[in-house]
Symmetry: C2
Subunit: 346 residues, 2 copies
């Protein structure tokens, strides 16, 4: 059988904020069968993850010095890989059969043709919706869990600040911190998000950073006794303000710096004298390094979701043609919770 596969590509490298004009929806005829001897797996994409880090892979090569980004750069006019959930339609790989539900690195498209070596696993839904496995029980969730518990080494009662707190990673960090018995304040970019953090997700407090003229004093107001843990999703001025408000032996997990992704001029220049005198630890990390806690993460998080101690926050759009706007929206704060694009019914 042959289908028409539609998928997203980039036409040029990106500097600054992403725009619709940088992307193109391409169309190809795709045979849903695997040649004898090939171990390719062809999947029908159901849900794909929309993540800020993709922009770093789309930048002009000279702009980035990190070998990991260079290694995994998005190639112009080619498919863009992404975390997501899919259904096998044809398989030359003995590990997968037609109709298997799988999770792993698929593409921003309707179908994915996956070569051997692609990260792909059979999906056990453990009774949760498929979308959960794209984010909450996927890499965003693991980033939150590992970043908070393994990197920050939190203790009950500690004061935790989370930026981009209504986002995919941020909202879960705040909820994990509440489960542990921390005092948690988050910041986000709209009134509605701030309300949601306080009312629905149980944050002790929250504020709209766009309404603050002086972030250092804002944090002083929300943390009169200082911050023990800053979970950084944004970098820039917020990181500077957090460093100024950290307590002695404070820990900063640098999960991401979205404010700097589209504008290198926004780089944080934290007061290193504070870093020395307060013995602050600033630690970058990647979720993928923490597969050793993956089972703990899934079981702990599943339990909290089942008992209602944690809430799932998702933001779902439909249609491959809407992937670019979903992605662009991340940098404008359009999303509330994990941004997912639905491509097909199961």
């Amino acid at each position: 059988m042959e289908v028409t596969n539609r998928y997203i590509t980039t036409k040029t490298h990106i500097d600054g904020a992403p725009k619709e004009s940088l992307f193109e929806l391409k169309t190809e005829a795709l045979a849903l069968s695997v040649e004898p001897g090939s171990n390719v797996v062809i999947v029908k994409n159901l849900y794909v993850s929309i993540d800020p880090y993709q922009i770093n892979r789309m930048k002009t090569p000279g702009e980035v010095s990190h070998h990991l980004i260079l290694l995994y750069q998005v190639r112009l006019w080619l498919v863009i890989d992404t975390y997501g959930v899919a259904k096998v339609v044809a398989s030359g790989n003995p590990n997968f059969e037609k109709d298997d539900l799988v999770v792993g690195l698929i593409t921003w498209g309707e179908y994915s043709v996956l070569k051997e070596g692609t990260i792909l696993n059979k999906l056990d839904t453990v009774g949760f919706p498929l979308t959960y496995h794209v984010g909450i029980l996927g890499l965003s969730g693991l980033a939150a869990y590992a970043g908070f518990f393994e990197v920050c080494k939190p203790k009950k009662g500690e004061k935790v600040f989370v930026s981009a707190a209504s986002g995919s990673v941020g909202n879960m960090v705040g909820q994990y911190a509440k489960q542990l018995g921390c005092y948690v304040v988050g910041c986000a970019g709209t009134k509605q998000k701030v309300e949601l953090l306080k009312e629905k997700l149980g944050f002790d407090d929250a504020f709209n950073y766009k309404e603050e003229t002086d972030l250092q004093s804002a944090l002083k107001r929300y943390f009169p006794d200082g911050i023990d843990i800053y979970f950084d999703n944004v970098g820039g001025e917020m990181l500077e303000a957090a460093v100024d408000n950290m307590n002695t032996f404070g820990r900063i997990a640098v999960c991401g710096v979205i404010a700097e992704y589209t504008d290198a001029g926004k780089r944080a220049a934290p007061d290193m004298l504070n870093v020395v005198y307060k013995r602050i630890r600033i630690q970058g990390y990647l979720a993928v390094d923490y597969l050793n806690v993956y089972e703990d993460f899934i079981s702990t998080t599943s339990d909290h979701l089942r008992t209602g101690n944690m809430q799932a926050l998702e933001d779902i759009t439909s249609g491959v043609e809407n992937i670019p706007s979903a992605f662009i929206g991340l940098f404008r704060g359009d999303n509330i919770g994990k941004k997912v694009v639905k491509l097909a019914d199961e």
Copy 2:
């Protein structure tokens, strides 16, 4: 008996580089006896330590937000405390007797009147010159030892970069790293210092940072395979360049940021995307937190000095009136090794 005590004070707060005109040499009549019932200890200062951090205590209070600095601010027109070696001339404290050699927090002056609670210990010279106990076997040495071994957690064969490498802390870090079997490159501000690092102290390589127009490429030249450990004494542009050249899972010990002490405009804005993707750890620390390794530090360092595996690098000036210029010189790179001012013969 009464003597004339001469000591250094500050006349105003300092912003920017320190100048002679900010200091004043004061004179007082001092009775070398202790009132009955008082537990004051009066000491004759022999050698005092000259340290960059003192400038942070001399700044206009609003310029610094770190409570530790505020708490220990130098007060205008009063004595300035410092690490040093002295001899007891009169004591109301049963732990000390006349003629005891002591080490601890004395003053930038000829005599010190030390109240109960002042950090002060009897000195066992273990066969080394008194000056060693001011720096090499004092707080500078402990800063180097703890910062390198405890904070950086080095492994044999790792590639280590040290800034202000001919300074008090820096030269010892490089020497410890060589003892462990690391590859060590240092930077310093003159040709003479660079030669000394390579010829006398056994650094694998060294360079004059003032002759480099592009620090990022300079580090790439000296570390074609990247830096595993950066021991930061200077901050600013050097920290940025180091972050760009760090290897995956690299560690940065932030011992101090002297380039930023006299000019907050020189604050480092490291590429946090590199911090994330390379999982870099940036850790501020203070030597005083590591008294638990003090005995190891003394025994290891004494052994290395005795066997000649490590060299003592000291820079000694005489006379209380020369304390300001010795201090000012730190920020101009005048000193080679531990800067000490001698105040009296033993």
